[in-house]
Amino acid sequence: MRKDKITVFSRSKLGLDLARLIDDPMLAKELSPSNVDVSYRVPRGSLCVLCKGARMLCGKARCPIVVRLTYYIRSLSRVRGLSLDGSSPPSVFVGRIGYPHVYVGPLTPPVHGDTSIMDMPELWFGKPLDEIVEYRFSLVRGRFRTRVDQPMGSNRLLDEVRDLALSSLSVDVEMTFRRRPRRVFILDDEVQPFGASAPVRSLRIGTLKLDYRLEKAYSDYDLKASEAVLDLYKSGVPVSKIQRAFSVGAFGELKRRRLVPTRWSITAVDSIVSKALIERVKDNPVINEYRVYESNYLDNRFEILMLPESWSYESIEAWYPGTVWNPRGEDVAMYGDYEGYYGRTTYADMGGCYYAARLAVAEKLVAEGRQASVLILREAHPGYIMPVGVWQVRENVRNALRKPPLKFDRLEDALRHIFSKLALPMEAWLRKSTILRNALHQRKLPAYY
């Protein structure tokens, strides 16, 4: 996640109309919101107002705002009036603003049927960006405010949402809203795609079939949340399902159960599971060679290096390197975090991606029964016009590790290959990477026996 992009938003809500936003008259007409309510908010220093989707000032391959608006309007034009009737994948969202008083609610598209793919990132890999943005925008979010530690049975809406999150299949949902669903468009190119939302007046949920594994953990009032997560992972429940149930506070000792903002719960599950897997990795024999795994999806290039050493892990990401668009010239935005054999005690600065990739890596090493030191290098290129979520990293790394690796006897050869695939030169990565620097410069004691 790019941290320098979290700018202060100007409080004024500008009623820009689309013609002011988008220069292309045909496009503006097509997107013109006849019956859809759109308003905008402009962060300070935003280039989007100057650019109007025509000048490509952000340097991306396509205008992310035009893409988002297209799917937003397409989806909302199907929602009439103050009610929505559709099948939830199932999906719920728990906000983080105002914690411990947060917005919670179900996400539902205005269509019926099996919509499960809309909230199942495990199935998204390989799909074009537009399809994923469309999934995101089709989901209309009903919301209400509640305390995170609201006890079970004390808020009917919340109880319904919790049940929904545990469902194994898509669920019919009828929502009525206090006002029409809408969305404030933030004119910044770094905002994650998200559909419209509205305060819920009432909620009706169709017949549920709870996932029996989730239900078992849910009804165990003495099982700790982290143990529940691990049990479910071991029994093969996809991470996205565990995370959804985790976010509605379905796990843990009864009195300690609480809602967990969606964003935090994703990382919590990635972190809990990978930490347990890493302990198993440490008992495995070390690999015998240098390995390189690769994947490229949504213009995110991953080069993964495994070194024949005891477990350690590092992940580094570079944003839009080597393009003239990089706002600070040579100073490419790079973030990285490292942990040694005994792990880390502080939260990784780069955020959720660190833990998502760590999970993918640990899964691979456990499956193969080997141990290694792992370095993940990621370059996000201009075709990645907006962040789509941490799942992209998890699935991209999983994809890389599914393929047979390139094997090298010498570190130099592995590095030569890697840096022939990346836009940034080795020196730039070296400045950031503890694992690379150690591999090249740190001697080992057995050399002096």
């Binding site: 050493e309 350690s312 040694g340 054999y341 150690n438 001697r443 080992k444 004691l445 002096y448 026996y449």
Partner: protein, 248 residues
């Protein structure tokens, strides 16, 4: 089989485990008629500890045959967090594999922990000659290492005829500590030939923080681009660390 040790200060045992925890979470302690011994290398093979605590350090020392005890020091140290001025009796039951730590103060506390089956590999001795040997106060070394770690992850040691220098530089700035023969912190300096070598501050920091409480002075020995030896002057035994060099 009998293994029973008694020490007047339970803190001694805690400090000893602390000095090992800088490198490893699990450790294999050997007890024989001379005392307790540990030789361990961290998982990345960059640093090593060579530790001996002679039997004279204990008020009572009873070992009838050489025994090895595998311990998860991290867990044991958690139990030892709340000790204060108590004396301690250690005993190991080989048949159950349990180690008992009996803390005797105003009342008696008995901690029993299970030990681990560790397959400790024999670590051969290092074959390194040291061209420089500098004896410094451990508080000086500790302060230097902590200061240096704020600007860099590498600390460079340099020595010429009369000066011993430790320096680190990074994006933030530089830290230089220069000790000549007149400085109080430098107790002795022997230089066979001018040398310089760099070492990882990650390891240095962990080591120096946990060991400098045990000894007032430490001998810093190194040669150009060869391993570093930190020999802490502990009273009854030895505490030596080695760190492999960082070669630019």
């Amino acid at each position: 089989m009998v293994l029973r040790l008694r020490m007047a200060e339970a803190k001694t045992w805690k400090n000893m485990l602390n000095s090992l925890s800088a490198l490893v979470d699990e450790v294999c302690i050997t007890a024989d008629e001379e005392g307790l011994k540990v030789k361990a290398m961290d998982p990345s093979h960059v640093s090593m500890v060579d530790f001996e605590w002679s039997r004279s350090a204990f008020d009572e020392y009873e070992v009838d045959k050489p025994t090895t005890i595998g311990l998860n020091i991290k867990e044991v140290l958690k139990l030892l967090r709340r000790i204060s001025g108590e004396s301690m009796e250690l005993s190991f039951d080989e048949s159950t594999g349990r180690l008992e730590m009996k803390l005797i103060g105003r009342y008696t506390r008995r901690f029993t922990v299970s030990t681990l089956q560790l397959t400790g590999e024999e670590i051969p001795p290092l074959r390194v000659e040291f061209d420089v040997s500098a004896k410094v106060t451990s508080s000086c070394l500790e302060r230097t290492v902590v200061d240096a770690a704020t600007v860099s992850d590498i600390l460079k040691f340099k020595a010429t005829e009369d000066v011993f220098v430790m320096e680190a530089s990074g994006e933030l700035g530089e830290v230089t500590v220069e000790l000549d023969r007149t400085s109080e912190a430098l107790l002795d300096l022997q230089v066979r030939q001018p040398s310089e070598a760099s070492y990882s501050l990650t390891f240095l920091e962990d080591i120096v923080k946990s060991a400098s409480d045990l000894a007032g002075t430490v001998s810093v020995e190194f040669s150009t681009d060869k391993p570093l030896k930190l020999n802490f002057d502990v009273l009854q035994g030895k505490l030596i660390y080695y760190i492999a060099p960082y070669v630019e």
